[in-house]
């Protein structure tokens, strides 16, 4: 089952816990596969529009997720997906169902998850320091890829991959994409081996 992730950006701890509980209930009652994540990136980010520095938090939300949901006391004047306080199961269910519906219509029969698109390659200095980025960027240069797809193709472990994607995102070299189409993950390419692997080893640039 495809599990989608939701990240709370600047919500009070109490509300963060409520959302975690509601997502758990949704899973038990309806089989919906959502989970609250502490990871850097997520399918959906939820952000407090009433909080101080809400615009900074919203900008951060757009950097880490392809879909952003706002939460506030009222829904007047708040564009896009929105949840009104206090959070109710029904409201949250409706918003998440809308996310699933809209991403489903974009991707046709494909499953949709958060993907990354390459905007440009990092500079020479960055690649000298972080040589694994060449593998990540080479993968992304062929089109948007999910984290799982990148991991399968590069052999880079999740935590390191998340760090590298964060680095690329903050440098403006990559960004989450809304057209998050899962790309042929049924048969991922293995991590590079063979001739290129041996050539890289020769250059002191082994893949892992």
């Amino acid at each position: 089952m495809l599990v989608r992730t939701l990240k709370a950006i600047n919500l009070p701890e109490r509300e963060r816990m409520e959302i975690g509980i509601l997502l758990s209930l949704l899973g038990q009652r309806y089989g919906a596969a959502w989970e609250l994540t502490e990871n850097r990136f997520a399918d959906v980010a939820i952000v407090d529009a009433d909080a101080d520095a809400a615009s900074d938090a919203t900008a951060e939300a757009h950097r880490v997720a392809s879909v952003v949901v706002t939460i506030s006391e009222t829904d007047s004047g708040v564009p896009g997906l929105h949840v009104t306080r206090p959070i109710r199961t029904k409201t949250l269910t409706e918003v998440l169902a809308r996310v699933e519906r809209e991403s489903g219509s974009r991707a046709s029969s494909s499953q949709t998850v958060l993907a990354w698109a390459l905007k440009r390659w990092p500079g020479t200095e960055t690649l000298r320091r972080e040589w694994r980025l060449t593998r990540v960027c080479g993968t992304l240069a062929r089109g948007p890829q999910t984290v799982a797809g990148i991991a399968a193709r590069t052999g880079i472990e999740d935590a390191e991959l998340e760090r590298l994607l964060t680095l690329l995102t903050e440098a403006g070299c990559a960004a989450p994409t809304e057209s998050a189409v899962r790309i042929s993950e049924s048969g991922p390419n293995p991590p590079p081996r063979g001739l290129f692997g041996r050539l890289r080893a020769r250059f002191g640039r082994a893949s892992t």
Partner: protein, 178 residues
């Protein structure tokens, strides 16, 4: 010739293709050079008239061949011959020349089929002394051709920079081969 065993280096005269091949080759590079007789004579005494050749020999005895194309456009008939069987292209651009972006356009056009069939990387040299055009300008040119190639500022006398170019090139080629 075996498709999976050859990389090509191209770029304008004097950009350093021979040097780039020399710093990663395991054999003394073979260069067919002649005395420069045109505007290039101010930059260097000799230039590659036919090709440069080097080899990387892996531990298991497998060999990767490195070919440098002649830089001058009047030798472009050689480019078509050298492209046969190449599995990737390193384009070196000298930022001190009059129209480096025009140089890039010319190589993208002439090696278009190879670039789209395999992959390529762009190495821009002499950017410290000649910062313009900047890397963004190069990306704009690539974008106009619907290409997302790595563009790296480099000093091709440095082995680390040449291996970085090769690493980036292999990353753009990887999934469909080897």
């Amino acid at each position: 010739m075996d498709r999976s065993r050859k990389f090509l280096f191209t770029g304008p005269p004097g950009v350093g293709k021979s040097t780039a091949i020399g710093v990663i080759s395991d054999i003394e590079p073979v260069a067919t050079e002649m005395v420069a007789s045109d505007e290039l004579a101010e930059r260097k005494e000799t230039t590659t008239a036919a090709l440069d050749f080097g080899e990387i020999r892996l531990d298991d005895g497998e060999t990767i061949r490195l070919y440098g194309t002649p830089g001058q456009r009047r030798f472009d008939f050689m480019w078509k011959l050298l492209v046969e069987g190449a599995m990737g292209l390193v384009i070196l651009i000298d930022n001190s020349r009059d129209d480096p972006l025009g140089d890039l356009d010319m190589y993208l056009q002439n090696f278009d089929a190879l670039i789209r069939d395999t992959g390529a990387v762009v190495g821009v040299t002499r950017t410290e002394q000649y910062p313009e055009p900047d890397i963004d300008s190069y990306y704009s040119r690539l974008g106009a051709c619907d290409l997302m190639l790595p563009i790296l500022e480099c000093d091709i006398r440095q082995k680390d920079d040449v291996t970085l170019l090769m690493d980036a090139l292999m990353s753009t080629i990887e999934p469909q081969s080897i």
